[in-house]
Point group: C2
Chain length 372, copies 2
């Protein structure tokens, strides 16, 4: 246990590291504990309930660790079932997908991680220093060496197939509120270097009204090598129609890093869903954070699920469409258990199940354990 | 499996049946699924989250079955983890402690149950026909013979030590909105006959503002033979002070059915807690139901826990007092795991963890299984 967890000066691809797919085996899942009264209504109590339920659902399939700010530590420990691990960790909010590290493996099965710079999606809240320090803490806890990437980025902006292909959106990765000093060519080069991918598939816009500026993880994801799930919309009057159809065309035209065409599974959009007056009434407004009002369209999407070991942990968002979404997910993932978790309280905060989770890929046992 | 589950015309005590204590072994726990928009805010979604989390917590210690109205069946099935059993069952609301049966055992370990008449605590909602039919359905599902008791009563109004002692409150059992045609002597006789108890300890008022008219299960309960937990209040200006001190005096003076004095464990009252404006805003008001307004004092109590096999499932209600309450419970129940569950959403509906659960006592294996 005398290894050092330094920050490496090299780049992952050159070191033989790449980001494995979410559908590959995990060692554990990380989350954070929500508490901000200006993001989560009613002093975050309903959201904490939702996170506790989500953690419990995931923990049926893989270990779960939750990072909690010091002042909430005792309460979170009490509110989470005993088999959920609770650790002290400072953060500004609970979106670990975006503030946590992007874990990498090499062919020997060793693990490292990328710590992206974080600016709260272009500034949804002004003080994001503790969030920017989350990834390094998770990497230290996991004893994984750290690459500090020289660009603003978030885990929710990336989906990979683990076989060389990366899926991103132009709306997010090329947004002027992220890395205005970098050209598309420079951004592509950094993504290749830090994720170990060879092929980048660019979609256009993300889900309508997504506060992350169109994170890919709310629009589309890999269901397996050569297979993607896509948020779908059949209603021409809905602005999501144009977004989903454009993404469908781009995905249909694309080839992945192995030269394969992609099989596209359509997942219907819920709703449209809106924040109700009573929900908005419970959110406190402070200076320096965006004000959310009643009637605000929520960027709900069934694509924002989490793949745990042997399971799909899927958001329940709308009783009219939940059953159809779960049915499709069962067809797309016949060897996984599809588990629904009520997720409206998470959605009210601006994201969903995928946004608040981050998998730690399983480290392969070394091929020659007895040598030495 | 050709036994008949008829309604018996006899009375339990005469048949050798008695109500076992909650701290005795359980076979399973029953709950119902909340959905009323006039009781549970925001179309009951936050409450459903809370119930799902509670069910999951209990299911770590004993099997859980949840009864769900037909129109919510698909959603509840999706929203509850797969190991929670879901069955179709009509009800008007989700207070199974009060609408479910009171299970009885005899000395041979056989099980039967009491189905009390139910009038929604004197009429909190006017149509309670489906609630009144819940107990019979649960008894049929458990293949337990049924006694239909000739009085209005609720499970939350009763706590027993399983050794002949019953704890009740005058405010509830003698309330004119329950059984005005019965004298106290007649009520005592019915309680003896239907619960198989010999000694009834009468407390006075229940927790301040308790909509059930002072159910015992929010004020005090048995922690073991000769031991009770009592909601406590040290603030003279709080009306709960008088209630708790009167109960303490009565409990101090009492002897149980075995002639023992009671050891009294004080659990501090949370808060006081009030319904916030944003919470009240999410509750729809219909004719025929009580209107709940912002500022309404909530009858929160840490005594309203559920004893599962090997565990205490305790409500988390107030971050200033939760830790102290859990600490006391760990001392009172050194051989049980004390698990906190965020319960404010349940409290907003008018009750708590004990109110929404009902244990099925474990049936002892017959001493002579091979006979016949």
């Amino acid at each position: 246990m005398h290894r050092k967890f330094t920050t490496l000066k090299t780049r992952p691809a050159a070191d033989g590291f790449y980001m494995p797919a979410e559908f590959a085996p995990h060692q554990r899942c990380w989350m954070l504990w929500p508490e901000r009264a200006d993001i989560w209504r009613d002093r975050a109590l309903p959201a904490q309930q939702a996170f506790a339920l989500l953690a419990t659902a995931i923990a049926r399939f893989e270990p779960v660790t939750i990072g909690v700010n010091a002042r909430q530590l005792a309460f979170a420990r009490a509110a989470l079932l005993p088999h959920i691990q609770v650790v002290a960790m400072g953060s500004n909010d609970a979106w670990l997908r975006d503030t946590g590290p992007t874990f990498l493996l090499n062919k020997a099965g060793q693990r490292r991680g990328v710590d992206w710079r974080f600016n709260a999606w272009g500034g949804i809240y002004s003080d994001h220093r503790r969030d920017d320090a989350v990834a390094a803490q998770v990497l230290a806890a996991e004893r994984s060496a750290r690459y500090r990437a020289p660009m603003i980025n978030e885990g929710g902006a990336l989906h990979v197939d683990g076989e060389g292909t990366l899926l991103v959106t132009e709306q997010c990765l090329l947004n002027r509120n992220r890395n205005p000093q970098l050209s598309k060519v420079q951004i592509e080069a950094l993504l290749r270097d830090y994720l170990g991918v060879q092929k980048i598939i660019w979609l256009g816009q993300g889900v309508v009204n997504d506060e992350t500026d169109g994170h890919i993880d709310n629009l589309a994801c890999f269901a397996g090598p050569g297979e993607v799930c896509l948020t779908w919309c059949d209603s021409r009057r809905d602005p999501q129609y144009r977004v989903s159809h454009d993404a469908f065309e781009r995905l249909s035209d694309a080839r992945d890093a192995k030269g394969r065409r992609l099989k596209i599974h359509k997942l219907p959009s819920p709703g449209p869903l809106y924040m109700s007056a009573s929900e908005a009434a419970g959110i406190v407004h402070y200076r320096g954070t965006r004000r959310v009002r009643a009637g605000h369209r929520l960027a709900g999407s069934y694509v924002n699920f989490y793949l745990a070991n042997g399971a799909v942990i899927a958001p329940l968002l709308d009783q009219r469409s939940d059953a159809a979404a779960l049915r499709i997910l069962r067809r797309v993932f016949p060897r996984r258990q599809v588990v629904g978790v009520p997720a409206r309280e998470i959605l009210l905060g601006g994201g969903n199940i995928h946004c608040v989770t981050q998998q730690v890929p399983a480290v392969r046992r070394t091929a020659r354990p007895q040598r030495r």
